[in-house]
Symmetry: C3
Subunit: 155 residues, 3 copies
Amino acid sequence: MTGQVEARLKELGVSIPTPAVPVANYVGFVKAGNLVFVSGQVTLKDGKIEYVGKVGQEFTVEQGKDAAKLCAINIVAQLKAATGGDLDRVKRIVKLGGFVNSTPDFAQQPEVINGASDFMVAVFGDKGRHARAAVSAGALPRGVAVEIDCVAEVE
Amino acid sequence: MTGQVEARLKELGVSIPTPAVPVANYVGFVKAGNLVFVSGQVTLKDGKIEYVGKVGQEFTVEQGKDAAKLCAINIVAQLKAATGGDLDRVKRIVKLGGFVNSTPDFAQQPEVINGASDFMVAVFGDKGRHARAAVSAGALPRGVAVEIDCVAEVE
Amino acid sequence: MTGQVEARLKELGVSIPTPAVPVANYVGFVKAGNLVFVSGQVTLKDGKIEYVGKVGQEFTVEQGKDAAKLCAINIVAQLKAATGGDLDRVKRIVKLGGFVNSTPDFAQQPEVINGASDFMVAVFGDKGRHARAAVSAGALPRGVAVEIDCVAEVE
């Protein structure tokens, strides 16, 4: 039986990748009680880093938004692993922490991170509506345009 | 009957605004168990953005501190909504995450974020004493000087 | 009786300092249920700030890693206080939030924050494996090279 969330992902034409396994002494997610803390996810696709550069310089806001969506897809991949493969067990996307790699005078972080917020609501419906912070970082790992971490509640 | 926290706010001469409703696919706060995760609040007052600029450039530390207090007022507005209007149900301000929009060599983030920390203790007493991180962002939404998010515990 | 974690710290030759007590209206940690939220810890050693400067400019990645380890030692000091002196009550290091003070094009935040991640696993074993975000800040308090906050689960 396919779950509701998986059915929605299929409708959206999004396939959820195998989650990235960190090559260091940290992990993709940790469960504490009913909360899942997901590590900061970046713009990794098919094992390759995409969107290397700063929004407002190498990338437009629209491209930044696509980069944020890619981070969100990787968050969902971690949540799939955290729920034993059953994304219907995600009770709520609680919080997204969005970091944009931008020029010092960039001011459209919310528009960029909307790429992730919109995706969460498209996938999870009202359960996908989250608290969020959207700021620019001074710089990001490998030079990626966006990094997003997440707290979710699971059943 | 007026609650203790509301009485304290009256003494302080602070009126708590109607919380900002995000115009996107995220929300002002999410409750997960007894924890409330509040979205990053900025320097919004009476529907207008204030304190646009960088601390250490357009703004002094003292002005940054006032900006942080304004963010804290907006956090309390979200907590009021999260507690059904009864701020006495706030058991503890658990964590503030403070982001300062500053020049690259600015080093007084703690003094700036104290504007929020002092306000929380003025309003909630010992329940207002929180863990906190205070860092500079690379830039902030709409160019505001300060953004602060919050985790609180409620009854 | 010495705890397992204390024995491990002795093997590692690390002595855990008395935790820093903030000189403001916030605290080193707050417990909410079984979660401990630890304030952002910086490169404080024997009451003095060390590692003042930016990684990629004043400091190499290797030095940044040492700075991150020092932050982690100060996190463990807070956790020791949070567990009434018994670090064996730490059930899991849930999340590290790592902020690097770097130049705008720095891209090795993960390598820097590994200094903290490696220390957590050295001290706590598998319980030390955490979710994490590693980003650059625009600047950090007192000009330190690294600041790290933490969420831990305790018994």
